[in-house]
Amino acid sequence: MNIMTEAGVEQKLSSATNAPSIKMKGEKVSVHYGEKRALFDVDLDVRENQVTALIGPSGCGKSTFLRCLNRMNDTIDIARVSGKITLDGEDVYDPKIDVVELRARVGMVFQKPNPFPKSIYENVAYGPRIHGLARSKAELDGIVESSLKKAGLFNEVKDRLLESGTGLSGGQQQRLCIARAIAVSPEVILMDEPCSALDPIATARVEELIDELRENYTIVIVTHSMQQAARVSQRTAMFHLGYLVEEGATDKMFTNPDDKRTQDYITGRFG
């Protein structure tokens, strides 16, 4: 967990210029919810400093796959995950892996903005505080400020950092949640339909933000909006009925997909 260091950031930036390496890798990932199987042997790579979009009709398993990446499925009692998911080559489902550390490295932004009912400052500062990332109040203030700046929210809230985070507008709340995720300095950020509860203007701001964040973070985003996937992602994976239908560069997926189902879904013939 030395990603805070200058060297770590440098290394990331330099690697972004070359051919993107694989940050997370799913091999034959299957998920059962009790008797029901939700995901069938999905093989999917997430490349570093790229935005990977997961698309597909409702109930196709894209959110389930996303939640496997930081083991959020652990919180569902009946969920059972098989297969292998690696982060930088380490199996995240290895019993030796600490799930708290994993979630610090793989942050998450949810569908509905869910700030803590605390002050804006506390919302952002909570993560660094529990992980002990700041040694002093000044350092913590610095993390909060830079996180809010990266999330493009700082100018809007700098005068009311101590007001409740739930008092912000929907779009601001979602950017606050992104700032909260960034504050822990994760390597990967998972976003589960981050714009579904937002109006078009707020959506545009968040999309812009995602594009900026790509420089420093690896992002996986689940979206129902084809345009959004096309706008923000470099790679797209199409899910259907629990299967990974097709995966590839976004340009290719939206212009010349291999699978007919992808073609139909993208052109709005189903889903």
Partner: protein
């Protein structure tokens, strides 16, 4: 809807299944049902409200007399001859106070009457006097005017609760006594008294003689500085009436009282059916008209412990007992209940065992409270040998009873915290414990507090389980600690309701009122907490 014309509605559109007559009838029926239910609901609320008002007004009207106590001011002789300042504890203060009282009525000579007279002041007088002298030795050395509490019967009479007393009416004829004391004859100038006596339950004898037995109202004639109780009346020559009577207070002279100079006092309740004799009534009225009796705020009731004497009985011992018991209950039930709720809701795996535990906790909330009392008796007293009647045991028993309520309320409010908050915390790498204690618990706290306060209010009003562990004992001392014998408010109410003395009736209601005040305060706190800290997501 048989002919073609009526197949069009009033506005000219075709009649559909939503606009035809049958539909209108259905709609009307629906509105009728709605109105009906509205009225039914309103009636139910009104009836419930009526009962509540009835209950509260009964309690309040019963309780109000207990809030005041009548005191008699007596010149108490505390000169060195009576009280040796060196041996304050050996002085019979009661006797001194009684002497001061009997000195007010020099013509009361018989032993029986003297005892009756002494009984006018509370048996606790000596104790109060001793305490006050100890606090203020400056009282010693002379005669001081000191207010002593009246006995419960005297007090109740003065509050108008023992006998129906008519007002003093001037007698519009002359009254001539034969003697100034003892059994005497009274000659009334006209026969108006005869009709009056008949109207008040006198029994008719031979030759028109009327006898006023103890089953009839008491007719008291006051004149010449004394009072005579009429026992019999017979018509005499010249339209006069000769009455036999007993002098209660000696007359100054045998001079005839002119018309309007004598007064008739009727005590409607017959002497046989009241707990206070005519004599005592006359004495009290004399003391009252001399300005020696004063009604004061009843500090004895609020600030002393229990007593067999109604005028000395106070609620403070029970209040302190309740308070100590509640502290124990809260200290045990709150942490255990909340921890259990957190574990079951946030950490426990959902399997058959936890389901069974859950079902049983819900069942425990429905167990009759006396069963918890039996459990306390068997386990805490018999097995662990803990002290009887102690708040610590009472608190433990009530804690057992309150636990399921707190657990259920806490689980409900933990469940009400949206899962998005948990996900948010887990998503940035908070551990399960951090998630619960940093985010979920603070949000659930108002609900948990509300449930706890309501559970505590429930426990505060509980009587049955505490009877089993001996908190029904008659305890005079105010408990000073958790292991001192104590009783609690509802049990005190239960005991007072059981006492035969009339004076305890008002005390019972007043104690109920105090209990209700505590319950209302606790519920109000619960409501405020809920309002204040309720969060919306």
């Amino acid at each position: 809807m048989t002919d073609a014309i009526s197949s069009f509605g009033a506005v000219g559109r075709p009649v559909s299944i939503h606009t035809d007559d049958a539909a209108k009838a259905r709609l009307k029926g629906r509105y009728r049902t709605e109105t009906w239910f509205k009225w039914l609901g309103a009636a139910a609320v009104a009836v419930a409200g009526l009962f509540l008002v009835l209950l509260l007004s009964t309690i309040v009207t019963q309780a109000i007399p207990a809030l005041r106590q009548n005191y008699l001011t007596l010149p108490i002789d505390l000169s060195a001859a009576k009280v040796d300042p060196a041996k304050l504890d050996e002085v019979n203060y009661d006797a001194i106070a009684q002497e001061a009282l009997t000195a007010k009525f020099p013509d009361v000579t018989s032993r029986q009457d003297k005892r009756l007279l002494r009984g006018l002041i509370s048996t606790g007088t000596g104790v109060f006097l001793r305490k006050d002298i100890a606090a203020d030795p400056g009282m010693l050395g002379g005669t001081v005017d000191y207010a002593v509490p009246l006995d419960d019967f005297a007090d109740l009479y003065l509050k108008g609760l023992l006998a129906d007393v008519g007002s003093d009416e001037a007698i519009s004829t002359s009254v001539t006594p034969s003697q100034t004391s003892g059994d005497i004859d009274l000659t009334f100038g006209d026969d108006a008294m005869l009709a009056l006596a008949r109207g008040h339950g006198a029994t008719e004898g031979e030759n028109g003689r009327l006898t006023l037995t103890s089953g009839a109202s008491s007719l008291l004639v006051a004149f010449n500085g004394g009072t005579v109780k009429l026992t019999a009346l017979s018509p005499a020559a010249n339209g006069t009436v000769i009455a036999k009577g007993t002098v209660i207070e000696a007359l100054d002279s045998t001079a005839p009282a002119a018309s309007g100079q004598a007064f008739l006092r009727v005590i409607e309740t017959p002497e046989a059916s009241r707990k206070i004799s005519d004599k005592v009534i006359v004495w009290l009225d004399t003391l009252k008209s001399a300005g020696l009796i004063e009604s004061r705020f009843n500090s004895i009731f609020f600030f002393t412990g229990a007593s067999r004497e109604p005028e000395l009985a106070g609620v403070w011992g029970a209040v302190v007992g309740s308070f100590l018991t509640m502290i124990v209950t809260l200290a045990i039930a709150f942490p255990i209940g909340v921890s259990a709720a957190i574990y079951l809701e946030e950490f426990a795996p959902k399997n058959r065992l936890t389901t069974m535990i859950e079902v049983n906790i819900n069942n425990l909330a429905a167990v009759p409270s006396i069963v918890f009392g039996l459990l306390g008796l068997a386990v805490f007293l018999n097995f662990f040998g803990m002290p009887r009647s102690a708040p610590v045991v009472g608190g433990m028993v009530l804690a057992l009873m309150t636990l399921p309520i707190i657990i259920i309320a806490s689980r409900a409010s933990l469940r009400a915290v949206p899962p998005s908050i948990r996900e948010a915390a887990l998503g940035i790498g908070a551990s399960k414990v951090q998630t619960v204690f940093h985010h979920v618990l603070p949000l659930a706290m108002p609900g948990i507090m509300t449930g706890t306060i309501l559970g505590m209010a429930h426990a505060l009003g509980e009587t049955a389980p505490l009877l089993m562990i001996g908190m029904v004992a008659f305890i005079v001392d105010i408990p000073g600690g958790f292991t001192d014998p104590a009783t609690i408010l509802p049990v005190q109410i239960f005991m007072w309701a059981d006492f035969p003395e009339a004076g305890f009736q008002q005390k019972t209601s007043a104690a109920i009122l105090i209990l209700l005040v505590f319950l209302v305060i606790m519920n109000a706190i619960a409501v405020i907490l809920r309002r204040r800290f309720e969060r919306r997501w």
